[in-house]
């Protein structure tokens, strides 16, 4: 039973000074599950996933990732970060390194595998995000969509157990959103556990096992996409869906 659970957050509370960003959040993620997190800006959805790989510290509650309890020790943080990949809104590729170097740095430094092996793995994943022919280029020479696909490949090279996506398409020009979403859908179909903060509701319908709606640092409502979109229970959820779906 426990084996099915990859991430367990219990009673998580987070403050920024006097401002409470997360209020008593409980979240359990099973292996292979795809979760879409949505909600208005400032609702704490980015903060929530940034707590999972300890880019943000929490003040109360517990987070367990792949059986390892995340505390303040460097060792625990290390172990968890090895299992958790992350893709950012602004790509955050390393501009002074080639695409290939971006993908091999962490495996070489953190996993201590050989350069040859790291490059073979990197080329495999770059191929998989259909960008294998750009391996020798620098990030600035690529389009936004290509950069984000490199960022996905870079995270995959560490062979994470779960991938976190923090608004991965929000900084992209509209014509590039699809190529990134397609890559994410491919990843989902391969069985990767994923938590995506996104407003791409088409994507949510297609791949999510569960959609979670957050507001003011709390999980307000969650459900399978079908029920969630067709029959939202909460007033806040209905308001929010009304606002974002009006644009589609």
């Amino acid at each position: 039973m426990q084996d099915h659970i990859l991430i367990e957050m219990m009673g998580v509370q987070k403050w920024y000074g006097g401002y409470q960003a997360l209020r008593n959040v409980d979240l359990t993620v099973r292996r292979g599950e795809k979760i879409v997190l949505c909600g208005p800006s400032g609702s704490g959805k980015s903060t929530l996933i940034r707590c999972i790989n300890r880019l943000e510290a929490i003040q109360q509650g517990s987070i367990v990732v792949n059986g390892h309890r995340l505390d303040d020790s460097i060792k625990a943080i290390d172990v968890v970060r090895q299992d958790v990949g992350m893709v950012f809104q602004s790509f955050n590729l390393f501009p002074h390194m080639t695409v290939l170097q971006n993908c091999t740095l962490a495996p070489i430094r953190a996993r201590r595998i050989s350069k040859t092996e790291a490059e073979a793995t990197a080329r495999k994943y770059l191929e998989r995000v259909r960008i294998g022919d750009q391996a020798e280029k620098y990030p600035a020479q690529l389009s936004g969509g290509q950069q984000q696909r490199v960022a996905i490949a870079r995270a995959l090279c560490m062979q994470p157990k779960v991938m976190l996506f923090d608004e991965p398409t929000s900084a992209l020009d509209p014509e590039m959103v699809k190529e990134v979403l397609d890559t994410m859908i491919g990843l989902a179909n391969d069985g990767m556990t994923m938590i995506c903060v996104t407003h791409e509701m088409g994507f949510a319908c297609q791949v999510a096992d569960r959609v979670i709606f957050m507001a003011e640092g709390q999980i307000i409502e969650e459900g399978a996409p079908d029920a969630f979109f067709r029959n939202p229970q909460h007033v806040r959820t209905r308001q929010f869906l009304g606002e974002i779906l009006a644009h589609h």
Partner: protein, 218 residues
């Protein structure tokens, strides 16, 4: 009989130039090493350590370099530590340079976008790798124009070493001028020597700045 400015005098100035260059190189190398340590401590995230380095930088930026040289040369002599003039000024300039370079690089490290560090952390990279592989290579590029600018200031600033009796280029010029009574000619030559050292560096620095500005527009 008063000697005229000739080859021997020119040779004397050249030897002064050598000392100026040597002093600059030693102070710059030492300043870079210590300055890097200062910059890293200044950005380490530990409040106490950050305060201590802030005070260190404040002291050496907030008092005249001349005073610092006096303290090293005469002050240390009072405690029984008699230093050779070159060693004394080299220490003085190194410490001073470490404060200025430390502050320049502190700014450059903080100018590297936060997302770079976050991406590196998310990939499981440790502090040493984050700094060595990600932050510093970018920070050094950002700081290059200011660093070169500081180097030019340092070259010219070494003339202060003359005060404690160290014969570098400016002091050599003064000596030759006193011997020959040809101050315009002598200091003209001295000025030209400084110019030949500094101008190419300044030019390189501003070219670098223009290139960086162009790169950041893209």
């Amino acid at each position: 009989m008063v000697p005229h400015f000739g080859l021997p005098e020119f040779g004397f100035l050249l030897r002064g130039l050598q000392w100026t260059v040597l002093l600059t190189l030693v102070a710059f190398a030492g300043g870079c090493t210590a300055g890097l340590a200062i910059a890293l401590l200044r950005t380490c995230g530990h409040k106490g350590v950050e305060w201590i380095t802030r005070i260190y930088i404040g002291i050496f930026q907030g008092t005249p370099l001349l005073l610092q040289l006096f303290v090293v040369y005469y002050g240390l002599a009072l405690t029984g530590l008699k230093l050779d003039a070159f060693v004394a000024v080299a220490i003085g300039f190194t410490v001073n340079a470490s404060a200025f370079l430390g502050e320049i690089w502190r700014g450059a490290i903080q100018a590297v976008p936060r997302g770079q560090t976050e991406a590196a952390m998310a990939l499981g990279l440790h502090y040493s790798s984050r700094m060595r592989d990600i932050v510093l290579p970018q920070a050094i590029r950002i700081s290059l124009p200011a660093t070169i600018g500081y180097l030019v200031q340092l070259i010219k600033g070494t003339s202060l070493a003359a005060i404690v009796g160290f014969i570098e280029l400016a002091r050599a010029g003064q000596i030759v001028s006193n011997q020959t009574f040809q101050p315009l000619l002598v200091f003209g030559v001295v000025g030209a020597m400084y110019f030949v050292l500094c101008w190419p560096l300044s030019w390189w620095g501003s070219r670098m700045e223009a290139r960086l500005a162009l790169a950041s527009q893209r």
